[in-house]
């Protein structure tokens, strides 16, 4: 019941917002805020009520939905230790993205409605336990994303939005084939059943291909090199809130899918493939980092650094061991918060200076000490400073993978130096250095919502950095059962 609420509440609120009369359109943000805070509260409550000692999914809703021939599509929702933290991340960042959009004036009703539908669909992806339902949510997310980028974006926004959509759809086409083959072979769409041992027998096409199809669908989202070029474009042209959602949760759908579907349903194939996971992961880490060093636009810089950081997720999955998988999951959470914060800071900067061109900025620590401090904090979180969230994810991935793929890890740790390079290079040029009189007028002067968002995210990044057990205790059992399945 809670999960159904989480999925449909924002969608329903979107409907309400769209029905608001024009004279009340400025109130749509309050509706959006109310709903997203309610979602957050609910998911926090669920998080703490989650029974750590129980195996399998909790808060399960399982209803008959439609029957198509021999197939039954069911409406199944549920969360386990893998999806619960991601769900919480989604609701957190939904509040963040609503708050950072508080000053929006262009068509606020449509904007907030789109944002909430986006939240609905992402929540749906993380909690759906019927493969077709999962796919529907996966596709549903495209629609609001397309609108949000192409209407409220900047630069070549139509191009970027279309690129994003086409890329995902191309991936989804592969994924759909994979899903159908699996469903036929397993005679069900129920993810729980498909994950059980010995369920998938006699697939229409070799299981290796099925694995590949699903992998492509998820890898586009993650993204991996060389399927990543949509990401900088989408980020570069999207409004702040959308960047937060995109980097913070949408990319995680890819990592989640890989663990939940590819690895768990086809562990034998995964074991044949894991070396590719490690290799592609390491290449993504390095390639992303090298390209980050060449970026001149703040948002594209963060986008490329995301490619690098998400490569670690793939690397951790490639270990196919409990430490690596926990690390990959943790890295997703950490990256969501840290990159979310990074985009928020850049958004605040952009609102004041109207440029994201690194060369034009500089010396801002004088005019906006608080935003500068926030940037420094986010930067150090992003380069994996200990006692902050990113470090735990990174080091756990490294430790979990080193035994199996020493070479891949030894390649990836160079990312540690490169990330220090691009972050500090960016900070030096944007916030430090002599004061530029071009920016004399700009100030920190801030609204309460900006304050709230930054402090909240900073607190979470620190919390996950010093108290990892908060999450790992929940993630571990879920990962353990997956590892058990791999080793069987």
């Amino acid at each position: 019941m809670e999960l159904s609420l989480l999925v449909f509440l924002p969608a329903a609120a979107a409907g309400v917002i769209l029905l608001l009369p024009r004279s009340m359109e400025q109130h749509s943000r309050w509706v959006a805020l109310g709903v997203s805070v309610a979602m957050l509260a609910l998911s926090i409550q669920m998080f703490f009520a989650f029974d750590l000692n129980k195996d399998g999914y909790q808060y399960v809703v399982d209803k008959k939905w439609v029957e198509i021939g021999q197939f039954e599509l069911r409406y199944i929702l549920g969360v386990d230790g893998l999806s619960m933290p991601l769900l919480l991340l989604t609701t957190c960042l939904t509040v963040v993205s609503v708050l950072v959009s508080f000053s929006i004036t262009l068509r606020p009703r449509a904007y907030f409605a789109s944002l909430l539908i986006l939240a609905s669909s992402v929540v749906g992806v993380f909690v759906a336990l019927d493969f077709m339902l999962f796919f529907l949510f996966w596709e549903l997310e495209l629609f609001p994303m397309y609108l949000l980028i192409s209407v409220w974006g900047s630069g070549r926004k139509e191009y970027s939005a279309m690129k994003f959509v086409l890329y995902t759809i191309a991936g989804s086409a592969f994924m759909l084939i994979g899903i159908l083959v699996l469903a036929f072979a397993g005679d069900t769409f129920d993810i729980r059943l498909l994950s059980a041992e010995g369920r998938i027998a006699d697939p229409l096409i070799p299981l290796g291909w099925v694995f590949f199809f699903l992998f492509v669908g998820f890898a586009v989202k993650l993204p991996i090199v060389p399927l990543h070029t949509w990401l900088p474009d989408a980020h570069g042209d999207a409004p702040t809130a959308v960047s937060v959602m995109l980097a913070g949760v949408l990319l995680k759908m890819g990592g989640y899918g890989l663990i939940r579907m590819c690895v768990t349903m086809m562990p034998d194939v995964a074991q044949d493939w894991d070396v590719w996971f490690a290799a592609i992961g390491a290449i993504s880490v390095l390639y992303g980092a090298f390209l980050t060093l060449r970026q001149t636009d703040l948002k594209r810089l963060i986008a490329y650094s995301s490619v690098s950081h998400m490569g670690l997720v793939l690397l951790g999955i490639g270990a196919l061991g409990n430490t690596g998988l926990v690390g990959a999951t943790y890295q997703m959470l950490a990256h969501g918060l840290v990159t979310g914060l990074m985009f928020v800071m850049v958004g605040l900067l952009y609102e004041r200076t109207h440029t994201r061109e690194i060369a034009r900025l500089g010396g801002l620590a004088r005019q906006m000490p608080l935003i500068a401090s926030g940037m420094v904090f986010a930067g150090f979180a992003s380069l994996g400073l200990p006692a902050l969230a990113g470090f735990i994810g990174e080091i756990t991935v490294f430790l979990g993978t080193f035994q199996k793929y020493e070479w891949a890890v030894l390649m990836s740790i160079f990312g540690v130096v490169l990330s220090a390079g691009y972050i500090l290079w960016m900070l030096q040029r944007v916030v430090f250095g002599p004061v530029k009189h071009e920016w004399d007028g700009v100030t920190d002067q801030r609204h309460w919502w900006e304050h709230t968002v930054v402090i909240g995210l900073v607190a979470l990044v620190v919390l996950l950095g010093v108290y990892p057990d908060l999450m790992t205790e929940m993630i571990e059992p879920a990962i353990d059962s997956i590892v058990l399945r791999i080793e069987a």
Binding site: L166, G321, Q403, I413, V416, V435, I475
Partner: protein, 649 residues
């Protein structure tokens, strides 16, 4: 509470809470300053002094407690988090080495904070300064208290963060911002080795625990090359933080930070971290002679390279900076020649006289508004306290009997002599140069005629200089006091060598209580003393009596002088050749071109398709919100109806 008795003799009985409190006191001070600094900046200085002072008192309590236990070991460890098979602990370990480091760090940090209240008076970032200084102290204390490598790595990186924040304290100066970045990145290159060592030891030994790693390395169970790789990884990290050749380039630039920060970095925190790390895992280096040999030679090269550069510097702070690098080279040389005691002893004495010298140079700067020795001279009569304490520090650094530096440097040279005569010869020549460049600095700064200092630039709103450089004056008591206090250990700290006091205490921290080097031999002592006096005499002859002018010496040895003055061209090679040309314009640009034209080119092949598709899709893109809204609502309704009709919730 897990209580491991590693040393059966007797373990220090000190309460675990006190050990944590040593770290927490400055941390709390940091937190309070960070929260309230904007409202009451004046309180920041006092809060910092209070926090670090409390940690200092507790450190002495710990020291005496460990002394009562004859240097035994106590470990308190707790589980921090687990991720699958990975279990990470958080703990404190106290033994002779930890106790000495605690005392050094907190004592120097405390005196530096007191001094800073005078030096930083009137700076716009006064509160921020003290907050960072507290955090710096916390990081270093966390590092020396840690009982496992994982935790060490955490504080190790935090030390790096704090150095970044403090070196770049005057961030509006491009040189400061660049120096801060350089320090962090160069040390992080070394940290790659430490990280690799961390991964290796976890994979092979399955533990991060210091004691367990020491046992693992010496057990003979792992293959020799694994231990060597592990040791070299640790040393790579140490070489970054402790500014060993060829990663030393960040340290001279770190002068961009406020001078008290330099004192802290050079004496007690950052650069001590690397030496401490190697000393902490000393048994690992004992188990791998290849690694130890490498450490010794890198140390010797570092000592020599830095000393030669120091000979030609014109900035008093840079002379001190290169002398620090050179002395760190000595310490590594000692560790590589199995002179564990000598290395820590030198770290110990060096901390006091180097802090003294840096604070002294800050005091000079306070009067003249410059660090350039060519604009100074004759300050002896204006600043007697600064002068005499600076003399004490220099004599100690030069290794003149019976000051502190004499005893510790002597032990190093003795260990080198026993191990390899070539290393000893390098060490001895460095001792000559040390004496020479220090007294060169003294004669240029304090003797002769005063040359007026640097006029105050009244347009620079960031300058907080409020004296008159034309009429230099002695510094206030907040600054003089620490100088006087520090000159006591700069004279006497070496006397702890008496009756193997220091040696026995420190050695108890090692798993095997075998002897690590002897402490005194008259031949070595005489040779190094002669060399040191000769160095002072040479400086006196050139810079006081001018029997030979420095210009003529420079002309005679021109090729060398040019190499020294250009710092062996390392910065140019790293920055211009490697980073800018090969890396940024070459490799990265190539990848970027690949990304744009190959990867995205393929995409845009289908991208052209995308554009066609978009032109068709444009038909339904009416631009009217209502129609979009309609679509959204319709979609939601369809889904909702489908779900509900299929099965009501």
């Amino acid at each position: 509470m897990l209580f491991l008795e590693a040393a059966p003799a007797s373990a220090p009985t000190i309460d675990e809470a006190i050990l944590w409190a040593i770290m927490l006191c400055p941390l709390v001070a940091w937190g309070l300053i960070a929260i309230y600094v904007r409202k009451i900046p004046v309180a920041a200085g006092y809060l910092a002094i209070l926090g670090v002072g409390a940690a200092c008192v507790l450190s002495y309590v710990t020291l005496f407690n460990v002394m009562d236990a004859d240097g035994g070991i106590a470990i308190h460890s707790h589980e921090w988090f687990s991720a699958g098979d990975l279990v990470v602990n958080l703990g404190v370990r106290v033994d002779g080495l930890t106790a000495v480091m605690l005392v050094v760090v907190t004592t120097v940090a405390f005196l530096v904070q007191v001094y800073s209240t005078g030096y930083m008076q009137g700076d716009a970032g006064y509160g921020r300064y003290f907050a960072h200084m507290c955090l710096f102290t916390v990081s270093m204390l966390g590092l020396v208290l840690a009982d496992n490598l994982f935790q060490m790595f955490i504080f190790w990186e935090l030390v790096g963060l704090c150095s970044y924040l403090l070196i770049g304290f005057w961030f509006h100066k491009p040189s400061a911002a660049a120096a801060a970045k350089k320090a962090f990145i160069v040390t992080r290159i070394g940290d790659l080795g430490l990280l690799a060592a961390l991964l290796l030891v976890w994979t092979r030994a399955g533990t991060f625990d210091v004691t367990a790693i020491q046992e693992w390395a010496t057990s003979g169970e792992p293959e020799g090359y694994i231990v060597t790789l592990f040791a070299l990884g640790l040393f790579a990290g140490a070489a970054g933080k402790s500014a060993q050749f060829p990663l030393h380039v960040w340290l001279p630039d770190a002068m961009e930070g406020p001078t008290p920060v330099s004192a802290l970095i050079h004496a007690a925190t950052m650069v001590a971290a690397g030496v401490y790390l190697v000393a902490r895992f000393f048994p690992v280096f004992e188990a791998s002679h290849d690694a130890a040999q490498f450490v010794a030679w890198i140390g010797a090269i570092t000592a020599l390279v830095a000393a030669t550069i120091a000979l030609v510097q014109t900035d008093v702070k840079r002379v001190l900076a290169y002398s620090t690098i050179s002395q760190l080279g000595y310490m590594m040389l000692a560790l590589g020649t199995f002179g564990y005691v000598a290395a820590i002893f030198h770290l110990f004495t060096h901390a006091f006289f180097k802090a003294l010298l840096f604070l002294g140079s800050g005091s000079v700067n306070h009067a003249t508004n410059t660090f350039d020795m060519r604009q100074m001279g004759g300050l002896k009569k204006y600043m007697p306290v600064t002068y005499w304490t600076f003399i004490i520090g220099s004599l100690s650094l030069a290794g003149i009997f019976p000051l502190a530096g004499f005893w510790s440097k002597d032990e190093i040279l003795l260990d080198a002599w026993r191990h390899d005569r070539a290393l000893w010869a390098i060490g001895l020549s460095v001792a000559f140069m040390t004496a020479f460049y220090m007294f060169r600095a003294i004669f240029l700064t304090f003797h002769g005629e005063y040359k007026g200092g640097q006029p105050v630039d009244h347009h620079d709103e960031d300058s907080h200089f409020h004296g008159d450089p034309a009429h230099p004056h002695e510094s206030p008591w907040a600054m003089k006091g620490p100088l006087i206090v520090l000159s006591v250990p700069a004279i006497a700290a070496g006397w702890l060598a008496y009756d193997h006091l220091f040696k026995d205490f420190i050695e108890a921290a090692l798993p095997h209580a075998e002897s690590h080097g002897s402490t005194f031999e008259i031949g070595i002592a005489i040779s190094s003393s002669v060399v040191a006096v000769a160095g002072i005499g040479a400086a006196w002859a050139v810079y006081m009596k001018r029997w030979v002018t420095s210009e003529s010496i420079r002309a005679t040895f021109a090729p060398f002088a040019i190499i020294f003055e250009n710092k062996y061209y390392l910065d140019r090679i790293y920055e211009d050749l490697f980073v800018r040309t090969i890396f940024h314009r070459g490799w990265n640009a190539l990848l970027q071109a690949n990304d744009r034209y190959v990867v995205d080119g393929i995409v845009n092949g289908s991208g052209r398709l995308a554009r066609e598709a978009s032109s068709r899709l444009r038909v339904i893109q009416t631009g009217q919100v209502q129609s979009y809204g309609l679509g959204i609502v319709a979609g939601v309704i369809i889904i909702a109806v489908a779900v509900i009709t299929a099965n009501p919730l």
